[in-house]
Amino acid sequence: MRGALLETGEETRRTINNFLSRLLQEKMVDAILAPIETSTGLVTPGFVTNPEKTHIIDVLAPVIPGVAMATVVSQITHEKPVEKRLGVILKPCDIRALVELVKFQQVNLENIYLIGVDCYGTYPVIKYKEILEKGNLPVENVFEALNKGGETEFRDSCKVCLNPVPIYSDLCIGYIGIEKGKLFIEARTEKGEEFLRKLGFKLLELKERNRAVAEILRERETKREKYFGEAEKELNGMEGINSFFEDCIACHNCMEVCPICFCKECFFDSDRYSYVNQNYLEWNPLEGTVPMLQAKVQFHVGRAVHMASSCVHCGLCEQACPQDIALYKLFGLIARNIQRIFNYTPGRSVEEKPPVQEFKEEELKEFIG
Amino acid sequence: MELLYFPGCTLKTSAKNFEDSALTVASKLGLELRELPRWNCCGTVYSLAADDLMHQLAPVRNLVRVQELNRDKLVTLCSMCYNTLKRASRLVRRNSEKLETINMFMDEEQSYEGRVEVFHFLQTLRDEVGFKKISEKVVKPLKDLKIFPYYGCLLVRPEEEAIDDPNDPTVMNDLLKSLGAEVIDNSFKTVCCGSYLTVDKKEVVAEMTYKILSAAVKDGAEAVTLSCPLCHFNLDFRQAEVAEKHPEFKRIPVFYFTQLMALAFGLNPEVCRFNLHFVDPKPLLRGKGFI
């Protein structure tokens, strides 16, 4: 894949933002949807239309506060396609979620240009705020922190993430496998290449990047197996799942932040779902105590069934849980297993049909015999 | 009533007991069995070959003898004679061309016209005398005597010549019942004893004898009855070989059905000529008080 190699020196964020300014200046896009810096130093999705104002954009911030960018794109394109040409900056998991939402007709990509960004991983919001408070972390220092083993503090889903590099976008801002002081802006589509050529970049290929990515993946695959292996042991059976959700307060935050939970009204919040709470009284009176878990667990298991085949492993559910329940451990595990069964990788391509939309006679042989 | 009767070779020699008992029993029933004058060998076994008419001359010649007397019925006692004469009579009746050829061969005889019907004496007893009449003649019912009626092949096969149902004949059963005997019936009653194999494969016949008799004994039979001198020889004489090979085998006497009739009718047991039997029936008969 060809792209442009940019000299950044110590000025990585500014180089990126200058590049984004030029997209606006040259009228290649009318607006950019990107994480922009808030007054507290965190980031939030926002539009930039003025090329002079791109300094507010912070694409490398190792944090995802609030909902996924894919959800934002869905909000603005679900009814009808955007009329202006919009460049959207997304992390790899965000892009995969976006691709899934396209398949569920929740996103319309007309007039949208996707600009992906490499992502080593992200901190929990709380942790990121702590770091900001301590050292006012500039972007360059993120890389340094990482070199010193900073990623041990990443969210669990990031530690075992197999997609540090976007797999679907027009352009990709890459730093993994690129020597210090440089950035590689890769063109993934003809449109992307056209952008780079119009901006006067010389296009070249960088093979060593693939090697670096492969190395990260090797390491993470081992970690991932170990992580889910432990999870499987811990969560085995209905007993395990019941106790896993004991402290759940049924706030449904996990659902709110999940990019794949796109329903208007959750089935489990609706009158279409009914569980007679009086039934608890009839449950197993021999043992003497009955926690009113059923409805809560049904919600989680039901939600898992709905989203597992398309789960992009962003881990936002876990970050959103006020009770600190390690939700990714369960949902990630279910998702991994189901995706394996159907040999389906969410976000790989918009052409690939999700399992819930397709019946194949030869599937699930091991279950139905 | 007078009936023309064809004795055949063996009834004049080793099966004299069959003939004597039959003649006496018949006269008791008001039948006169008049021996066919100038009878010759029946042909012994029916010749199956379609291209062989020579072997049909002997039986047809016997039929000519009947025709010469202006009679149209011939009765036999021996099953084999019955079969051979009957089949020959049917062959020439069905096939006028063959009859013509045969007649040409026998130019010294008058031409056979194909009218003679051949019967076995058991048919006469069943169809003309009737078992009711027979039972009326019984003075010493063969009470408690368990008898296995053995039909063999030639009374009942092939089906065209059979005197009874080829697979489940009952004529002798019914006769035995009318004599007051207890009938032991089993499916070996129509299984071939080995017939003429007795000459050069006597071990085969001995084995069949063993199978047939031991099945009957197992079902409780104390004696066998039959209507064929060859079957009689095989089932009676070959018991010696059977006993040699199967030490547990218990010999049982073999009667012609006419002998049992003579006993039941209270006739002089002399006509039964028990001395011609290899397995002596007298101890059994004495034990039951029939002699």
Binding site: - | C9, S47, L48, A49, V204
Partner: protein, 134 residues
Amino acid sequence: MEIKVSLKKVKSPLVRKVTEISDEKIYSCYQCGKCSAGCPFADQMDLLPNQVIRFVQLGMEEVLDCKTIWVCSACFTCRVGCPKGIDIANLNEALRLLHLRRNQDHLKLGKLPREELLKLPQIALISSLRKYTA
């Protein structure tokens, strides 16, 4: 062992002669095996009765050397049972006659022990001579 089947074989003297002598429709046999199943002497035979017909159908001369045709007592159990109305006993007779008509006697009475000969009734001697000698 391989057999060669050909037009020549099918039209061979064996098939022709057996048909001529027996007047049986040998190709009518569909090999159900009921003849063999019912034969009281099958265990003494080297070829089962149905195999005898099969050999004839295919013109296999070796059928003439089998023991079966000399073990058959022509009791007609096979004939009574045959669903196709074939008289297998008759077929065996035809095969025996193919020997006998060449003056190849199967039975030599002189070889039997004298005391046996004295015991045997006429009916046995004459019938076996009729079946086993020319």
